[in-house]
């Protein structure tokens, strides 16, 4: 019950307010009401020939959009304007200035006219166009042409600004102007869309182009009711009456009188302008999409490559894993039989044997050794994963490794030169593993020299270690992110005077089971393992032919990234 009361109260309150809103417009003040009583005669003038806004028809009756507005205003104010007729618009304007006419039913507001007129808010908006036979796309194309305007109309004022560039021809009314365009007496006419289409339609004039021009579009012709400057009260009265006309009414009036022949919209330069801008934007977007696409494609390609690579590495790692897992068990299972075979061969060798048997037994010996090597190599290979890391100086490891290899060098008459920098910073490393690597590399070097020639007196191995800065771009790229430009590295180089590598070998040298040694002498796991070990130390190993022109041989380089400060 309480809610119902509240609801009703709100309802009535809103209705009251609404009523007020609507009633507001036509609530004339006492002053205004008095003024109207005191001024029973108000002179008004209409343009004789300004269809569809206002014009005199054949029967002498004035009609049009503007007239309809005036009629409604008269009704609302309960008054009747007194019409004054004149020959033409110019005359009307003159009489208005002289105070003989009080109200102009339709007049465009401009600065010039503001001097002697009070304007209501514009109630009729009109779009300006250029009428012509030949197509003019913009106002500036009228330069040097004969352009018609109705005398003293808004367009006259507008075009007067271009007085120097355009030959302005003033005509008495819109129809005359259009007809002059049609017969070619003038090149174009500037007028408004509604007037022109009305005339064209009525007079069945064809072959004309209508071009709405941006500049004219912006300066839409806006018609207001004009009131003499010394009657401000009348201005507010008429304004109130105007405001009281509903938008439905306005639309009805408009539709009654405007048979707008739509100008083909693609002739609209503004439209064309917009379209081309849009087209440009679309083109740019299109190009962007294409480049983006290409970019993505190349990224996809490189990612695929990376993925492939990673995949291969993974497969390899898995293979190694499985080999590793097999090795321990296999090693044991294979080695015991091998041991038995060895013992057996040893025994048989101790017997009295003919030459054939001796040879056979020797071959069996070799075979056992070979088999053993493979197993041992596999074990090596499969043990790569874990490092036992301590900090130390890599020169120590190099020296220790050289000690172990010394006798091999002496045996082959190989001269050894070392140049190990004393200012190398310490490194986190697995000494045993690195020693393994160095021994492997030194042995390779020695064997390479041995293979070259036994009697060479310039058999030489050089071992260097120093701190360096990485500048080689290709190397940095090869490092796959391990090194950056100008990275400080410990660089160790081992040079031999062997035969060097052929092209094929250079590429495959670090592959597992790659070997240049004759059958039986090497399983080919050494370098592959070494590379892995170096990799685990966050380093890189390269093996190329020496750059010296006169000396053949191989140069092995080991790079280890240096972090932190150099220790003295």
């Amino acid at each position: 019950m309480l809610y119902l009361k509240l609801y009703l109260k709100i309802l009535f309150a809103s209705l009251f307010l609404l009523n007020l809103c609507f009633a507001q417009e036509l609530r004339l003040t006492e002053e205004e009401k008095n003024w109207l009583s005191n001024h029973p005669i108000i002179h008004i003038a209409h343009d004789k020939n300004f269809p569809p806004y206002e014009w005199e028809n054949d029967a002498g009756i004035y009609q049009g959009i503007s007239i309809e507005y005036i009629q409604r205003i008269e009704k609302k104010l309960n008054i009747k304007f007194k019409q004054i007729k004149q020959k033409n618009w110019s005359k009307i304007l003159q009489e208005f200035k002289d105070g003989k006419i009080d109200v102009l039913s339709a007049i465009a507001k401009d600065e010039k006219r503001e001097k002697f007129t009070l304007f209501t808010k514009s109630h009729i908006k009109v779009q300006g166009i250029i009428v012509s036979v030949k197509e003019y796309k913009a106002l500036n194309e009228l330069v040097g042409e004969r352009v018609g305007v109705v005398n003293d109309y808004y367009w006259d004022d507008l075009l007067s600004e271009y007085n120097d560039e355009v030959e302005i021809v003033r005509v008495s009314n819109t129809q005359v102007g259009i007809e002059m365009v049609a017969i070619g007496a003038i090149d174009a006419m500037v007028s408004d869309l509604a007037s022109v289409t009305h005339i064209v339609y009525k007079e069945s004039i064809s072959g004309l182009q209508f071009v709405p021009v941006p500049i004219l579009q912006e300066k839409k012709l806006e018609l207001s009711i004009g009131i003499r400057k010394d009657w401000p009260l009348l201005q507010s009265i008429i304004q109130k009456a105007l405001n009281d006309i509903s938008s439905q009414e306005k639309e009805a009036i408009y539709k009654k009188w405007i048979k707008v022949q739509k100008v083909s919209f693609w002739q609209d330069t503004r439209f064309q302008y917009n379209v081309s801008i849009l087209g440009l934007i679309l083109l740019v977007i299109f190009l962007l999409i294409i480049t983006w696409n290409r970019l993505l494609k190349s990224q996809v390609a490189s990612r695929s490559k990376q993925l492939e690579k990673a995949n291969l590495q993974l497969i390899r790692a898995e293979k190694m894993e499985s080999i590793g897992r097999l090795s321990a068990g296999v090693a044991h299972e294979v080695k015991n039989p091998l041991a038995i075979l060895q013992m057996s061969v040893d025994y048989l060798k101790g017997e009295d044997n003919d030459e054939t048997t001796k040879t056979i037994l020797d071959d069996m010996d070799d075979a056992i050794v070979r088999a053993d090597r493979v197993i041992k190599g596999l074990l090596d290979f499969s043990r790569e994963k874990e490092l036992q890391v301590t900090k130390g100086n890599i020169n120590d490891v190099i020296e220790q490794s050289l000690k172990l290899i010394e006798h091999e060098f002496k045996q082959r008459n190989i001269q050894l030169t070392t140049d190990l920098s004393e200012t190398l910073p310490d490194l986190d490393m697995d000494r045993n593993r690195l020693q393994q690597v160095f021994i492997n590399l030194f042995m390779n070097a020695a064997q390479a020299i041995g293979a070259a020639s036994q009697t060479k007196n310039n058999a030489h191995i050089i071992v260097n270690s120093n701190l360096a800065q990485l500048e080689d771009q290709t190397l940095i790229e090869k490092s796959e992110g391990l090194f950056r430009l100008n990275q400080n590295v410990i660089l160790i180089s081992i040079l031999d005077t062997g035969t060097g590598l052929d092209k094929k070998s250079e590429k495959e040298v670090f592959e597992p089971f790659f070997t240049t040694k004759p059958l039986g002498e090497g399983t080919g796991l050494g370098l592959s393992v070494s590379k892995t070990i170096i990799g685990l130390h966050h380093g890189m190993i390269t093996m190329n032919n020496r750059s010296d022109i006169e000396i053949t041989g191989v140069e092995v380089k080991l790079y280890f990234a240096v972090k932190g400060e150099k220790k003295q």
Binding site: K335, I340, M343, Y347, R373, D380
Partner: protein, 123 residues
């Protein structure tokens, strides 16, 4: 005088062959044992001059056996050499035949290597 060698390895045929080859030289008397757990007892009974011990045996690992033996004061001074199947190329050739201070030989081992080792240690 013949030197007494104890060979401990689970591989029966192997120990048989080692014994055969070593005794053929006439310099050695070889006792074989195929079970790690029984090696301590065998050592006590045989009192060898040197022990060859396989590392990987199913019942007991070789280094455990050695540890056991060395706890016995009577036996603690006996030199021993491990025989191992699971050692890599690196560990044999390149690191000298010691791992963790212990002497070892990698299978398959030649008879002459055995003899060389024995003579080196026992002289």
């Amino acid at each position: 005088m013949t030197k007494k060698i104890l060979v401990v390895d689970d591989e029966v045929v192997l120990t048989k062959m080692i014994k055969l080859n070593l005794e053929r030289t006439g310099n050695y008397e070889v006792h074989t044992e195929n079970e790690g757990s029984k090696a301590l007892q065998a050592a006590r009974e045989f009192k060898p001059d040197l022990i060859f011990m396989d590392v990987m045996m199913p019942d007991m690992a070789g280094d455990e056996v050695i540890a056991e033996i060395r706890e016995d004061d009577n036996l603690s001074s006996i030199p021993y050499v491990f025989l191992t199947a699971i050692v890599s190329k690196t560990e044999t050739e390149e690191m000298g035949n010691t791992i963790g201070g212990n002497e070892f030989l990698a299978k398959p081992v030649k008879t002459e290597e055995l003899i060389e080792t024995i003579e080196r240690i026992l002289d």
